[in-house]
């Protein structure tokens, strides 16, 4: 059994030792007593920070200036550590560096309690914490980085000089960042490929016989994987001790609020079931569907078939706009039997899948329609597929042709393509909305295809009901995150508040439809 002697030392030493390093691995939970007010305040602040992490992650490239700057200013505003060089001198105002690190430590562990409960919550939490960790690690100097490696027992072998000479060409050709000089002067670590999945996945490293060869300067990926794995395991453990935590009445409401916020408006609660007639769908697809769904609908009509990815994305969207299970079955069936599928085969193979979407089969999960983030980031389409986000996944040339065929103006197309080039896919879709509805400013931040539909109906005079739904969607959309939406707008900075006000604020902050 391996002992991390350094961590042991942290436990027995005074607090200043505990927070001696700017970057924490959150190996040990805090052991002190924490005031309830602090408990809540810390948790909410970290939540805001993680939400910012999520937002900037979608809006900017992760290593870019804007990304780092936004995160730095947000960390500073929320009183989290924002500079690795921070020392412990008493500042004029605000918290000392030590206090900030303490807040960082405590808030992390509180959010673990809130986010360990389901697969989706865990996945979201881990993703943001890893991104935050990556940002902070990259801000360290090389000496501090080395220290992080050693403190965490990442013992990998380096290759000797002879091997380096033999492998030199391969090493240089495997990575954009490795030159002949790098090979000569830096240590290369031989790491089992399972510990460097991100590098393997992107083919950014030399891989031989199951080992990747990583120059010292790229070791961050290893550290990240280690962090991610440990966090994942810890969350699983935390989930098991949750019943004990929930029995504390003071904590339960807060934790529920914290995690519940991320369920938010997910369009799974069907408000308008049955209000859409099947024969309206063709017209609606041109008028009120976002481009991705319009494309899927068109492919379905043309080919009388959609593959699994397309069925899921489009089927769940239709559920979200109000199709009932019976309508959905009729819709898919009538289209499929125009193609190669006979009625019998449909009932055997595809009907199950439709019912599954509505939570009537298997483990009866009522699946939620995909958010833009999910469509953009997961399950990219391949040959024969029509799902995904056209702004993300289509060839710019083909996208242009498609927009032309939909009678979008040339200047409008130009604007859209610019946004696509800058990787602002949701903004591109928003622009598409503005152009097709002939309005100057969409007045909402797009992050869900169903939101697009509702806003479109509203813009075309869909009535007060739609407007109300759109407004509540807007508010809780700002607050939601899991597998869900990324509201690009900034969360408001909170001033100092009392506990009572705090909980009230929480309520409105996390209200869902």
């Amino acid at each position: 059994m391996e002992f991390s002697s350094r961590r042991r030392r942290f436990l027995t030493n005074p607090q200043t030792e505990l927070y001696g390093h700017p970057l924490q691995f959150y190996g040990q939970p805090p052991l002190e007593n924490i005031a309830l007010a602090e408990f809540e305040a810390f948790a909410v602040d970290r939540l805001k920070l993680l939400k910012t992490v999520e937002n900037v992650g979608v809006s900017y490239l992760k290593a870019s200036e804007q990304y780092s700057e936004k995160l730095r200013s947000e960390s500073k505003a929320l009183n989290f550590p924002h500079r690795p060089g921070g020392d412990d001198r008493k500042p004029q105002a605000g918290l000392s560096e030590n206090d900030k690190r303490r807040k960082d430590h405590i808030s992390h562990f509180i959010l673990r309690l809130a986010y360990c409960q389901t697969e989706d919550l865990r996945r979201w939490f881990i993703q943001q914490e890893v991104d935050l960790f990556r940002y902070r690690f990259n801000a360290l100097d090389s000496e501090q980085k080395l220290e992080v490696l050693h403190r965490n027992n990442l013992q990998y072998d380096t290759i000797n000089v002879e091997e380096k000479i033999v492998l030199k060409d391969e090493l240089v050709n495997s990575s954009y960042t490795v030159s002949g000089i790098t090979v000569e002067h830096q240590d290369f670590y031989k790491v089992p490929f399972q510990d460097a999945l991100d590098l393997v996945r992107a083919r950014k490293v030399y891989l031989k016989a199951g080992y990747v060869y990583i120059p010292h300067k790229d070791i961050v990926t290893i550290v990240l994987n280690d962090f991610r794995t440990r966090l994942s395991k810890s969350l699983a453990l935390t989930a098991r001790s949750l019943p004990a935590v929930h029995s504390d009445e003071r904590l339960q409401p807060l934790l529920n609020h914290l995690s519940h916020a991320y369920v938010g408006q997910d369009y799974s609660i069907q408000k308008n079931v049955g209000k859409i007639a099947l024969d309206q769908i063709d017209a609606l697809s041109g008028k009120s569907f976002p481009l991705c769904m319009r494309q899927l609908h068109q492919s379905l009509r043309e080919n009388h078939h959609l593959r699994h990815g397309g069925r899921m994305q489009y089927g769940l969207f239709l559920k979200g706009i109000g199709l009932s299970l019976e309508q959905a079955l009729q819709f898919w069936r009538s289209e499929f039997i125009r193609g190669k599928v006979d009625a019998d085969k449909f009932d055997k193979a595809y009907a199950y899948s439709v019912r599954h979407m509505f939570g009537k089969e298997g483990k009866r999960t009522d699946y939620t329609p995909y958010s833009c983030m999910k469509v953009i980031l997961s399950n990219p389409p391949s040959q024969g597929d029509h799902h995904g986000c056209p702004f993300r996944h289509s060839d710019p040339e083909l996208l242009k042709q498609k927009l032309q065929s939909y009678k979008v103006s040339a200047s409008g197309i130009g604007q859209i393509l610019e946004l696509v080039k800058g990787m602002h896919f949701q903004l591109a879709c928003q622009k598409y909305f503005e152009l097709t509805h002939n309005i100057e400013d969409a007045n909402f931040s797009l992050n869900h295809p169903n939101q697009y539909f509702i806003e479109s109906q509203k813009a075309s005079g869909g009535g007060r009901e739609m407007k109300r739904e759109a407004d509540t969607a807007q508010r809780s959309q700002e607050n939601s995150a899991t597998g869900g939406s990324a509201a690009p707008r900034e969360p408001e900075a909170d001033g100092p508040q009392g506990v009572g006000e705090m909980t009230e604020d929480l309520d409105s902050y996390f209200q869902d439809a």
Binding site: N173, Y176, R203, K208, Y211, K348, Q383, P390, S394
Partner: protein, 426 residues
């Protein structure tokens, strides 16, 4: 060889015969038991069966080889899928507390399906295959086999013909079986070069530096490209396909070649012109231009479905399962004979059932143990059963499977020794 043609309507009669006398149960069990190194490995494995009338049953599991045989002979599945090894016996999963029934391990698998190449083959489409486009499978196997062994260090690879239009690869190394889902998807993505759906014209984009993996793959592709693409698929002959190829190049090159092609009609020469353009472009331009490589890869490089590989609990068609539409047996492929592998020569179930009644000359292994063994009824039946498949065209595939298992057994022996050492039984 028998020319008994296959008729799916005969399956209800053929399957019982197949499962009673031909299916290689002892080899199958030997495989999935993995030497008994891990407890309950076979017992906790999920199988799924597709029965008559498309009835699909999941979470089948068996305690012993005998139980597996009996159940399969009772149910006569049309299709057999193999799933993961779970934390508990799959057949008892309903009795387990929800959340604790988990898929733990499974072989790392890859599925190459010919329909994924429809945009680059002109001879067939959808479920059809022919000897011309089969080359794509050969190329896929060569490239993936090399990469899985050379780059990832895996050693126990079983390639299986799916029975109709593709191949599967089962990576059986212990390390592979234990890989979590994220690792599987990372491996699959490392191996993926062709990206994009119908909406994407240019599916392969290479940037400098060219990774050694891509370089090695290109070496293999180049061995097949002239015959497969230029000759058989005639991609630079017929106008529509020439246009498609040209659309994958930068505009200035395309214009130049359109002109040149007016005077040059021979595909091989046309390709040489393409390569010359590539060299020229590379020399004169600052950034890397690799369109000739990109074209070769788009037409020939393996296309795999990441979703099949990434799930630990994903069910995949079992070797020696019958393909209900073609009747062909999903046979393991000996890579030493890859170039001569003919999917249309793979035995069908009707063929091998018919062969059962006709003894094949020279196929019997003259085992002298016959004389030594006691002649009691049960043993005689066993021996007859063991020798049955040998009398049919299935025999050579089972023999190859045996060799594969023998190689794997070396590593199990090592593991068992290690374990007993740890437990101090000497």
């Amino acid at each position: 060889m028998s020319s008994q043609s296959y008729d799916a309507a005969c399956l209800p009669d053929l399957l019982p015969l197949y499962y009673r006398r031909l299916f290689p149960f002892s080899q199958y069990y030997r495989w999935l038991n993995y030497g008994g190194v891990q407890k309950n490995y076979f017992q906790n494995r999920e199988f799924s069966f597709t029965l008559k009338d498309d009835i699909y049953v999941r979470y089948q599991s068996f305690s012993t080889q005998t139980e597996l045989e009996k159940e399969m002979q009772k149910m006569n599945p049309y299709k057999i899928d193999i799933g993961a090894i779970y934390s508990h016996r799959p057949s008892q999963h309903n009795t387990v507390k929800s959340g604790t029934f988990q898929a733990l391990e499974k072989e790392l698998v890859f599925d190459i399906d010919m329909t994924d190449y429809d945009d680059v083959r002109s001879c067939c489409s959808a479920a059809d295959i022919c000897c011309k486009c089969w080359t794509l499978m050969t190329v896929a196997i060569r490239i993936l086999d090399r990469a899985l062994r050379g780059d990832f260090g895996f050693q126990q690879l079983l390639w299986v013909y799916s029975g109709r239009r593709g191949v599967h690869c089962w990576v059986c190394d212990e390390g592979a079986r234990k890989l979590p889902s994220a690792a599987r998807s990372a491996v699959a993505e490392y191996l993926s070069l062709v990206k994009g759906g119908d909406e994407t014209l240019k599916k392969v984009v290479l940037t400098d530096p060219i990774h050694p993996f891509i370089r090695e793959s290109l070496v293999l592709v180049e061995q097949y490209f002239p015959r497969y693409a230029l000759l058989e698929q005639d991609i630079l002959g017929r106008k529509e396909s020439v246009d498609k190829v040209l659309s994958l190049m930068p505009e200035d090159v395309r214009k130049q070649l359109q002109q040149d092609f007016q005077n040059e009609k021979k595909p091989e020469t046309r390709w040489k012109l393409v390569k010359d353009q590539a060299v020229r472009k590379q020399a004169t331009s600052k950034k890397g231009h690799h369109f000739e490589k990109e074209i070769m890869l788009q037409y020939c490089y393996p296309r795999l479905d990441v979703n099949v590989s990434k799930g630990v609990n994903h069910l995949l068609k079992s070797p020696f399962s019958v393909h209900p539409k073609t009747g062909r047996i999903s046979v393991p492929m000996d890579l030493n004979e890859l170039e001569t592998f003919d999917p249309f020569a793979v035995p069908t179930i009707s063929q091998i059932c018919e062969e059962l009644d006709r003894p094949r000359s020279g196929e019997e292994d003259g085992k002298s143990e016959d004389a030594k063994e006691k002649e009691n009824e049960k043993e005689a039946a066993e021996r007859r059963k063991i020798r049955d498949y040998k009398r049919t065209s299935l025999g050579k595939y089972v023999k190859y499977f045996d060799q594969f298992l023998d190689e794997m057994a070396q590593s199990w022996k090592g593991e068992l020794l290690k374990k007993s050492d740890l437990q101090k039984d000497f």
